[in-house]
Symmetry: C2
Amino acid sequence: MYDWAKLQQFCEQVFARAGVPRANAAIVAESLVQADLRGVESHGVVRTDIYMKRVEAGRMNPHAEPAVVSERDMVTLLDGSNNFGAVVGTRALDIAMARAKANGASIVGVRGSNHFGTGAYYALKAIEQDLILLVMSNASQTMPPTGGVRPFLGTNPLCVGVPAGQEQPFLLDMATSVVARGKIIVAAQKGEPIPSGWAIDKDGNPTNDAQAALNGSVLPLGGPKGYAISMFIDILSGVLTGAGYGKYVNNMYENWEEPQQVGHFFIAVDVSRFMPVEQFKRRMDDYIRLIKAEPKAQGVEEILIPGELEHRQTLLRKRQGIRLPLKVAMELDAIGQKYGLDVSAAAFGEGSIMGGSIA
Amino acid sequence: MYDWAKLQQFCEQVFARAGVPRANAAIVAESLVQADLRGVESHGVVRTDIYMKRVEAGRMNPHAEPAVVSERDMVTLLDGSNNFGAVVGTRALDIAMARAKANGASIVGVRGSNHFGTGAYYALKAIEQDLILLVMSNASQTMPPTGGVRPFLGTNPLCVGVPAGQEQPFLLDMATSVVARGKIIVAAQKGEPIPSGWAIDKDGNPTNDAQAALNGSVLPLGGPKGYAISMFIDILSGVLTGAGYGKYVNNMYENWEEPQQVGHFFIAVDVSRFMPVEQFKRRMDDYIRLIKAEPKAQGVEEILIPGELEHRQTLLRKRQGIRLPLKVAMELDAIGQKYGLDVSAAAFGEGSIMGGSIA
């Protein structure tokens, strides 16, 4: 097991020693460990290794700050200058939140970015400010269009965060594929098979082999509807912002010649423009309680609100620690050694790499 | 077969004779017939009968104009005053388009509305103005939350329209259910069964009986993801605007005591704030052509862009006419007789109600 705070400190120090300005190193580390805390392993410290490799290869530039291309009224276009996606996304969020407070709502289009972690990382910060946030991003090609056989669209994520009162906030953070490709990456790392219907292999055949799926295509959520949702996210994040789209969004694991050219799209809405915040929160609480009070299907213990499970995981993992797959623990150990840091200082009890047993 | 222009004129005259101001009668008629032209029968003139019944019962008020509740910067809150949804939606769209041109983008939240037809009706008008439009609406309860057994959420539609250059515009207009409930209504009217996986009956059991499905629940698109998407649409359209949400959105076929209390949410974006419109359209054309040029799966003749099929249907049906199910043709005939109008004047050749054969 790993202590979340020490693990976050380890990642922050690694990024800092690799030349990332301290404040930005802290952002990236926080975004990764928050994902592990929420149970979204696919976007957690498992990404540290690839992020470091892209910095070391000069494919990400941690020294160039994101720059505003144009900004008027409530619309801003931001160029990420190929910095870490989490750094670029945080800058875009800060602009979106400030503009929404000033104008009632705001839109920030982003180009020149990289994989920005989870949308939830940004939505949770907006929720703290009583803002509703819609955030989306395109990604490198992993899904075929409906009727196609090879990857064209990314699993372009859609995230929506809404503040509530006494209830947990509404927090949808989904890939537009049947499942997040990261889940398949994790399965491949664990050497586990994947359920049918998740993906097709490179020849377009259904597969339960995680590695074959990674070499093939993840399938869109709900067929043509998921295809269309993924497309409009690519259009807003990429075609409209001047970022890459389709094949022009580069795969961070495979393309070592070019930057990723990822684009994002943020929409922030100030609740108070529609009704007093407290009234809105009471309505959200009522809405959430009505859903949770619905009669349950056989075998269902509880009807959950999007984000509720991840919130509970966070509380649990902050207490009990974060368990990492052996492969990830060993990657972090190697990175630590390279930068004169010891990840085992963040580990405790059995299940840590020091304890040997990881499972 | 029915001539689309004459059918639209018939509907417009019916609404006008029922006391709807001429300009508004024209809007509602155009919205219905456009849906039939696009092949979205579920939102076509099949709705004339229920719209008329609600006006006659005093559950819709065609005489009260929508009123702006608050308007500042780029955020507007509109009260539909319980007018026709298409009238309210058109007013909201006009505000959204004007504000987007002035501010780069705009948001219009709407309460006090009714069933507003297809989102495509609004998106196509925005596309003509080189605007990107996201429009959503909540609806009366037809889908269970994930883990539930009875309807709580509507099949809350999401529509996104994006202009292109020489290619057809991107136009996604989807229900957040596996299929639009209207398709099940049409199946029930035709006395046809529905595919497995579309719906559950009132006891939560899978069913292929269209009527049993209408008495039960339509299932959300892709399970928990569709549940969450439908929820955020309900939150933005209903909880945030002051409209109904969940059980507070009334079923237009079943509740004759109260107005529907439907809410909508419009987001308009001016493409020119991000790059010159012509450059954007070239990028859209490139994007669309890249997708359509993808290798096709076995048996697939063509990879389609969202909205492409409906555009072709429109061209075809404007030439060949609109075929109506006997039940709908007879409803329109009865409505015509009631208001001293003859729908058969819009019919031609076999397949019309005069010709007898409808199939």
